[in-house]
Symmetry: C2
Subunit: 401 residues, 2 copies
């Protein structure tokens, strides 16, 4: 087992109707003056925002609002949020939404203490070391931002989308009410499921060895997600399935599934190859949902790299699908790996996720651009499980066309 | 899934030689003035204490010492520790040892802020709401106290051993260096392994339903412990096996394996029947090691109660041992349950753990006393999975003779 440093300090309030108690959770934690951050769509329509506002009021929590966070949250809104937070001297940032809203809240929380521009953290000029406490009412299980140490923000002016990491901005409180997710459209539910499985796989296939406890937890989580995913597709109001997916999405990304899998103790495990390659799809066409892009890219990446360490894929095949190779030869192990990858992709397809890039309208002539963009973002050679150069990323994109 | 509240805020520094960096971890966390708490045996002989002291000195952490914590730590030493902590105005308590040392440190940490006697927390007069930060250098993986919310202290004057719970005294820092456990005697290693499996099982068989994600994590942990237990018995210096056991012992008891298994969201999952029944064995004969007592009691309890909900035991049998019942009848499920219980007990025996009470010298005529003592401690009827009265506990003890 590799050495690791791990902390997941978030206090989880997980249960039916807990949304209405948000105010009292904040008061318990000593927060009295919040900046309430949210989007512009379903959080208003479904009444979730109103419920949170009511609970803040009845608990005596004073709050100001920052509305209109969009998917791929933009740095200009973060800057506005920092200004409001400073003016109002808030003592916490409360995000009501999914990953985009939470990431916007995180950037406000660490930008609050920074004298320069908040983009400094994303351009690499500054490193988050201190942040206002963050509370979350989670409405979309997918990104895992409710407990993760990561934050991704877009900068329209520069045409960039960048991330930063820091334990200091892991949320202090996460209110997780699975009933809020009953109304999620099937496509969004499926994309979220794909994203969380990918979060686990990026760590599992870090290329930095194995860790028996973590490996078993990782496979346990993937099994639980697949099982719950099948149930939720049959019945979107299946509380237990929704709850399983919600809790698994958190554990998929709070790093419990990465302990001992990183070559650097303080760094997140994994080379994040699929996330990197999907990132460029979304950059090419902003209508491509992150999870849907991953449903195409991750199996393609897996097929391309599995022969570099088929034994690791056999561990996955065994732990998740109960498969065994027909022998210990390289060929038998690769065949077993490929069977598991097919089964994973079949599962994504069964959820309604695409399996080919052409389903997004991406054509052979787009590949050059994707490869160039990827090299610009990740460097000429990147990856943990297997180092990928342009010839490799081209082959992976092409195999997924 | 039942509602739950869960927080495990401990920052884990897990790896080879990390003992020597303890001082810098404290400094990173802002601690400069520690009360160093330890026992009197192996921590000194093995040089671990010296390594920690050296690291504190080289990091500039000032410290005073409280030595001589015994197994089943006594409240009088806790009182002394509180006095020293107040005199020296320390900013943290640093425990170097196993569960007893950590529990002593915890009691000092929350006793520090209490005007009355610290026993008030164990007699039920007070509830821990505030504590000094606690740091731990773990030397024995078993009790899980390095991340748990529990603390057990003995009071020789009253002839009592009592526990209290509180999230406020979960350790802030846990330094986990698997190499420190290479020198643990085989019997202590085995007792620790039994204890951690029991921590998982007490939660799994809470009697308050199931939770797919947690159930799978629980079975994954038990599998990992059994596998690593076999390896460590063959080679006590197998680093990965030692590391797997150490990390699993933490996750067995930090409540990640109980999320959604408690009928009360803020309470620990499980009826803790086996722990309760074992407690009286240790009270009858203080030479009985907790884990060794559990190796006898838990299978006996399981056999007695499994027919109350054989389906739950089949889940365990399937998840841990890959067993399937030969049909859906009650009889088939109980048979499957019993096969799993036998396999679990065989595993304990393979580690050198006892399987009968007579191996401790306990005789039929002692049972009356055990039943009486248990009723006095836990009440006339107790338990989660199945309510146990005197006739039940008598039958369980007798079946284990």
């Amino acid at each position: 087992m590799n050495d690791f440093i791990f902390q997941s300090p978030t206090r989880f309030f997980f249960g039916r109707g807990y949304t209405d108690d948000t105010g009292s959770y904040l008061v318990q934690a000593g927060f009295k003056n919040a900046l309430l951050v949210y989007g512009s769509g379903s959080v208003i329509k479904t009444g979730t925002l109103k419920r949170v506002q009511d609970s803040l009021e009845s608990s005596g929590v004073v709050f100001v609002e920052l509305a209109g966070v969009r998917p791929n949250p933009e740095v200009e809104l973060v800057r506005q949020g920092i200004e409001i937070a400073r003016e109002q001297q808030v003592d916490c940032i409360l995000a009501v939404g999914g990953g985009s809203v939470i990431d916007c809240a995180k950037a406000i929380a660490f930008g609050y203490y920074h004298e320069g521009d908040v983009w400094d953290f994303f351009s690499g000029k500054a490193k988050p070391e201190r942040a206002l406490p963050i509370a979350v009412v989670l409405t979309i299980p997918a990104a895992g931002s409710e407990a993760s140490s990561s934050c991704v923000i877009s900068n329209d002016e520069l045409g960039q989308k960048k991330g930063t990491n820091g334990d200091c901005f892991r949320p202090a409180i996460a209110v997780m009410d699975p009933e809020l997710t009953f109304t999620l459209p099937a496509y969004q539910t499926a994309a979220g499921i794909t994203d969380m499985i990918c979060h686990i796989c990026e760590r599992f296939f870090s290329g930095a060895g194995s860790s028996a406890v973590t490996d078993r937890i990782a496979c346990a989580l993937v099994c639980a997600i697949i099982d719950a995913g099948k149930r939720v597709m049959k019945n979107p109001n299946d509380y237990d399935a929704r709850a399983d997916i919600m809790w698994a999405s958190t554990l998929a990304h709070n790093d419990i599934a990465g302990c001992g899998l990183s070559a650097q103790p303080s760094a997140r495990a994994g080379g994040w190859e699929s996330h990197g390659m999907e990132h460029e799809l979304s950059a090419l066409d902003t209508h491509i949902t992150h999870g849907a892009g991953l449903a195409v890219i991750m199996p393609a990446w897996m097929r391309y790299v599995c022969s570099a360490d088929p034994q690791r894929f056999v561990q996955f095949a065994r732990g998740v699908f109960g498969l065994e190779p027909a022998g210990q030869s390289q060929q038998a192990m690769v065949a077993c790996a490929r069977e598991a990858i097919d089964m994973l992709q079949d599962f994504f397809s069964s959820l309604g996720m695409p399996s080919r890039l052409s389903e997004f309208g991406i054509k052979a002539e787009d590949i050059d651009k994707l490869v160039d963009m990827l090299a610009a973002t990740k460097g000429e050679r990147f990856g943990g499980f297997m180092t990928l150069g342009r010839e490799d990323t081209r082959a992976i994109y092409e195999s997924a066309l």
